[in-house]
Amino acid sequence: MELKTKIQAEDGKQEIFIIREFDLPVELLFKAYTEPEIFEQWMSTKVLKMENRSHGGYQFQTSNSQGDVVFSANGTIHEFVPGHKITRTFQMENTPFPVQIEFLEFEKLTDSTSKITIHTVYKSVDFRDQMLKLPFAQGINMAHNRLQEIFKGI
């Protein structure tokens, strides 16, 4: 099946664009990003803090089956325009990666379809490339997700 997600990353640039169209009204797409309980479901991470406002902060954390934290990240929300835009910083904790800035734009296409564009700017071209090489570190993993589901069922 063809992937619906597009990535624009030019050689030698310190930025990338992630673009995706959804079969969802823009309100629901925005909700997926701003309601912690929903965000946790599709990002497979735990939301420790999510302050959806300008100058607010957020914090995510994922633990493995032994309870060790394997991923944690935080950032500051610089701009929050409901249904349209979130501008925020993102930093993975306990890694050599410096902070990056993310511009999230939510667009209505029709009443029932929408589009997200995530423009991420890194400190340098090298850091961008290294970050892209770790597609697996950034997201947390399906195995953990599955375990969490099992634990929830107990």
Binding site: L3, T5, R20, D129, F136, N141
Partner: protein
């Protein structure tokens, strides 16, 4: 041998992607990796072997244990590393869409 194709084949399997994610977060022993999966230990070993053969993982003998490290340098060309990154986001967004569809259907009832 077409090394690039091998890398893509290695990444195409969801269990192997999960293994790469685990090891990307921290180097781990084979036992610790296997403990994250329901799959039988020999199956996980087979996945580890494939990932090591195409050099996405590097193994290091430490006493009786083998420790696995991620070898990010394997993916040198931007086109090589964009594709797994794109797959990761595509899966994530597919999940978002299905979660929201379920919520949408519930509220329509």
């Amino acid at each position: 041998m077409n090394l690039r194709r091998d890398v893509f084949q290695a990444i195409a399997d969801p269990t192997r992607r999960s293994i790469l994610m685990l090891v990307a977060a921290q180097s781990m022993t084979a036992g610790a990796i296997a403990s994250n999966f329901d799959t039988a230990r020999p199956t996980v070993s087979k996945h580890l072997q494939i990932l090591t053969e195409c050099e996405l993982l590097r193994s290091e003998q430490n006493g009786r244990e083998i420790i696995y490290h991620l070898n990010p340098n394997k993916m040198k060309e931007i086109a090589d590393f964009i594709e797994p990154f794109r797959q990761m986001w595509d899966e994530r967004f597919n999940k978002l869409e299905s979660v929201m569809k379920a919520i949408q259907n519930m509220s329509n009832k």
